[in-house]
Amino acid sequence: MATDAITTLRADTASLPFVVKLHEWVTTVDHKRLGILYIVYALVFLMIGGVEAAVMRIQLIRPHNNFVSPEVFNQMFTMHGTTMIFFVVMPMLFGFANYLVPLMIGARDMAFPRLNAFSFWLTAFGGILLYFSFLGANGLYGDGTAPDVGWFAYAPLTSKTFSLGHSTDFWTLSLLVSGFGSIGTAVNIIATIFCMRCPGMTLAKMPLLAWLNLVMAVLVILAVSPLSAAQIMLAVDRYLGGHFFDTQAGGSAVIWMHFFWIFGHPEVYVLVIPAFAFASEIIPVFSRKAIFGYPVMVAATVCIAFISMSVWAHHMFTVGMNANANTFFVLSTMAIAVPTGIKIFNWLATMWGGKIHFKTPMLFCIGFLFQFLIAGLTGIMLSAAPFTWHLGNSYFVVAHFHYVIVGAILFATFGAFYYWFPKMAGKMYNETLGKLHFWLFLIGFHLTFDFMHIPGLLGMPRRIYTYEPGRGWDTLNLIVTIGAFFQAAGILVFVANLLWSYFHGETVGSDPWDAWTLEWSTSSPPPVYNFAITPEVRSRRPLWDLKHPEDPDWKYEYMERS
């Protein structure tokens, strides 16, 4: 049987010296190993970004605190934001995409394995370059050296006049480098999905995870490129004496904002759409029902991606655009709420009438649904521009986007970790530790981010290293900080679970969850070639068809073509 060959393979590799194994990992072009490299890289930076957040929260625990200097605090929020977006969430999602997409479409690897490896190492190097700034640059106002211009690096604060030394250059160059890595991965994902699907798997029969990663990859190509362009312009300004954003020479600070947010808004959909993908795979399996409304889920996602290219200036409502421009962006932003809301209803309808198994992946997905609902609603509030005239650049916005990134994206990603960990490691995780992680993190998340909305409503702007007493912000900030420690505890439990289960977890077979997509037809972990014989499929749930030959999906699916 095929499994014997696999166990023999594992026994062989287990006895190789460490240096050889390390060399194999460093030179790998296998999508599964690259996926794991991306994910581990992201986890390491998650902890570093978390430390930066903890430093900020301790500084803000009471007014006029002296835990760190203003210079250090300003570096902390810049590095925290930049790290979390570019070196945690994006690599994490690329890692899962890398691992899962070829398996789910019945392919042997990604379309361009060497480009895959190159893209990973570009991203990895970008992160290291960014962190080298702590040692190698000379930042604003001397001491401390990491970039301190905020993660969106508004002009003209980033010009040579106001940003002395090289801290801003580290920001620019590290993101340029990792941006090219992201584009490389996106090209790979698109080519893989269009060109390497197994026979019978038309686009209409692909798992939703593949569809959503396809949409995400298209968005990366259209969105990261404008950021690269803007960063080249910034480099021209800083190094060649150009005037793109030089207001003294007639240049415009606002045009940086436009270029940045033309990247920045689709970027948040790049981050959230893979989270939708995880939920769309996990919720059906743990509710024991097919996803409700597959065609509309695809159409809604494509709509979201399309509309997301037209909403960017809702990040600029306070910049002084005229009434007509503001009104347009209100309309486009409110419009995007419609396909997004539809998806929430579809997930609920999937759960409706099902038999829900409350295992850790599903718990995290339920948390995702609840929190994404709230995040979407605070987004609708912010889409009403006059409301943003108050709440833009305040802690309300910080709470809103952390609700999306942590409450929705990170929760769904934790669900994905637990769901696919058995496949990747061949061992089951510890369910008790998983549930402990969930509850600790849920409590911490809500303590921090529910209460964080209120200082915003009471006038607290963001990016301030300290605040005045007597504005009603003191107790709220204290509660927000306490929540951070619960979240840290949850993450520690999570990492402990991953490590312990990898070494001591119960061995699993190919399909511990009784699921329906192709990756569950391989062994756990899959062999390096994925499928001994290329599968052929007839429906969206090939394993359901095998397990229920009397009642296969292809008799009932929409858009069935023979």
């Binding site: 002084g320 809301g341 829900i356 006059p386 709440l391 650049n393 009471l458 702007p461």
Partner: protein, 351 residues
Amino acid sequence: MGITGCSNWRMRFAAQAIVLLYVPVAALADPADRSLSPTNIFAPVSTPAHSIMGLSLFVLAVTAGIFAIVFSLLVYCVVKFGKPVDDNGREPPQVYGSNQVELAWTVIPVLIVVVLFLATARVIASIQKAAQPRNAIRVVAIGHQFWWEYRYPDLKVVTANELHIPVSDPAHPTPTFITLLSADTDHSFWVPRLDGKTDLIPNHPNSMWMDPQLTGLYLGQCAQYCGTQHAKMLLRVYVQSRQDFDHWVAEQNQPAHTSAPVSEGQHIFETTACINCHAVSGTGADGRFGPDLTHLMSRETIASGAAPNTPENLRRWTQNPDSIKPGSKMPAMGLSDQQLDAVTAYLATLH
């Protein structure tokens, strides 16, 4: 795959979620409670702030309604559709979709969006397209790292950090229109009880207006990250009765108090680099890089609200600005104790 726990567990989860929601709402139980915070956006005293609050409450009500419905559905699913303890191992009926249901939950959100959009568009127009009446007070605010410069072109007043404007009678409004400029990077003017924020961007003039209907001191701070001391670029707006405001303007229009012969402090002020940055009208000091000090003692705070305006703080500030606001643009001038005493005494005469 066994289920963990029984329906009690699911009930607890649902209850916990409800409690976690209630607490923040309770904290806002009385949005008009001014004692909750002097910078509460739900305690407006000016027309634009009132309009924004009206729209906000409407939007909040709609989103709260949506939340209640969808949350209830989620709770219902979680409570009702868990795997039963006596599960027979058969899969539930597979439902792939429903055209009617999906159409309904597309059309209804579209209608909600249309309503919200129209309400929002109205408020945007009413605030941004408001005409400037002839009796409006005109102020030009120039943002600096890390202080506010205010010029009244019609009233010929130049001051810094503490803005004085007259109260506006709703029957005969006398609004203040502020033109927003910047001398260096981006800033943002946010005094929540008076108006939403508008950014000050170099080479991109903006404007905002307010017509406060209640006298008092209104607080705020810069709301666009502008560098090291962004956090201490505080805003203080004094809304005064018409009489008090006119009195203040008259005082600001006086030239600087000076003594003859020139005091030792004034001599030090004018011969060290102070006059490179600061201006004192009627003397040789006409620097524009730092705040105008002509009527320094008419202000309650120094360093843009960072410290109360007392002789001790003035002396500390002059000796070493970093001791109050580390990273501010004013350098320590390296004056001796005697020089500091003299300069502080001179500054204390600038009423």
